[in-house]
């Protein structure tokens, strides 16, 4: 069981949370102006990185807030968490 650090509630058990998946680039402001390749890349492609991975989490059974979490997907080590909109802490390079 992972211990997930909610930026508001502190460390809590994994089962209180839902993972929203990889935090990708923001939705393009004008999707109609994109070609199919660019839209497909934004809509479907994921880095699916093996290593430091920034993702959205929802403290579903707690404070109900969404936040960002960095986790190493090769060993599930949690690296940092921060509120949406805050400046992320420095993260290790991929492969480090």
């Amino acid at each position: 069981m992972l211990e997930i650090p909610c930026p508001w509630c502190g460390p809590r058990a994994e089962v209180e949370f839902a993972c929203g998946g990889e935090s990708g680039p923001p939705r393009p402001a004008d999707p109609g102006s994109l070609d199919d390749a660019a839209w497909t890349a934004w809509l479907w492609n994921r880095t699916n990185r093996k290593g430091p991975h920034v993702e959205t989490w929802w403290h579903q059974a707690g404070c109900g807030r969404w936040f960002l979490l960095a986790r190493d997907t090769s060993d599930d080590r949690v690296l940092a968490s921060w509120p949406i909109g805050a400046t992320p802490p420095p993260l290790p390079e991929e492969g480090a």
Binding site: A18, W39, R46, K50
Partner: protein, 414 residues
Amino acid sequence: MRFSLANVLRQGFSGQTGWPLQWRKAEPARSYDVVVVGGGGHGLATAYYLARNHLVRRVAVLEKGPIGLGNTGRNTTICRSNYLRPESIALYDHALRLWHGLSEELDYNVMFSPRGVLMLAHTRHEAEVLERHVHADRLAGVDNEWLSPAQAKAFCPPLEIRSLRFPVLGAALQRRGGTARHDAVAWAYARAASARGVDVCEGCEVTGIRVAGGRLVGLETRKGPIATETAVLVAAGHSSVLAKMAGFELPIVSYPLQALVSEPLKPCFPCVAMSGTIHAYVSQSDKGELVIGAGTDRYPSYGQKGSAPVIEDAVEAIAELFPIFRRVRMLRQWAGIVDVTPDRSPILGESPVRGLWLNCGWGTGGFKATPGSGHLTAWSLAHGKPHPLLVPFGLERFSTGRLVDEAAAAAVEH
């Protein structure tokens, strides 16, 4: 050496000491006509059919560890073809038909056992979805039948149909479905491919993909560079890692998927039973162990460990549906990393790099497709274009929007 009656008798009288290695321990050459990256069942089958059906001479399988220790050696071995869309039914049934003659074809007992796959419905919604599958399959000429709760109980006596939490409202049964011995599948294809001249190179991780002018020119490996103009990535949960080496991204997320086995019991469970609502499924192996599968973990990961709460959910549900198993002790638990696509269908076809092909995205349910996937991928590589059955599964479907949505059929992880 074939497993003929004469050889089996001769070895029996000489203490089983004369059997040769089942496949050659090959070191990679400096160039190949076709390189298969990933020595799981799909990769080994692809290499076998390249050599056997298309007489491609210089073929290598590059596997980073020993063969068959990826998802091929970690899955719960359910084979069936009762999917929803015509494209998927055709693909999975092609594989199911190959399963039925595979031991003879490969001269190796893959222990294919068509004991019937029973898919349980616990809610009205689920009953309607499964009935829709039954009709879709029958229209496509594939067997799948709807059973009442009493008929389901008669087919699978340990099933509790009046459970308060998970009452059984009916079940879909595919009688031609069943299980096979996963390790034997990897070994059988490796042996048969090796006998036809394929180099099965273990301990040979691919670390780079060389592309020039949009075309594949070679691979970097732990055992040195290899020149090739045709390669196929068959790396399951690590497909995104390899795609990145070639400079593109995939619509794939890698999740751990877990399974566990019990202590061995006398034969007591006649079929495969699975339930989508509760993400649990069970069968009994020939050794007597209950083989139990769970749902995917709730977050992406490459850590082959798995999250404990997911296993707890699966075991609770199994104990509720099959009360006779409540006191059975579990022996081992493990996870494999599965490559999940948005529509739960595989990605089969050429990648954005010319000459580099994809066979991935099988997610939670690709073991059943092993023979068909290898057979059709080999055809595609040999002809330089996707086999007609694979055309709907190309990467382009994510731009055209023609997804092959099997989220319901694959909602249970199998």
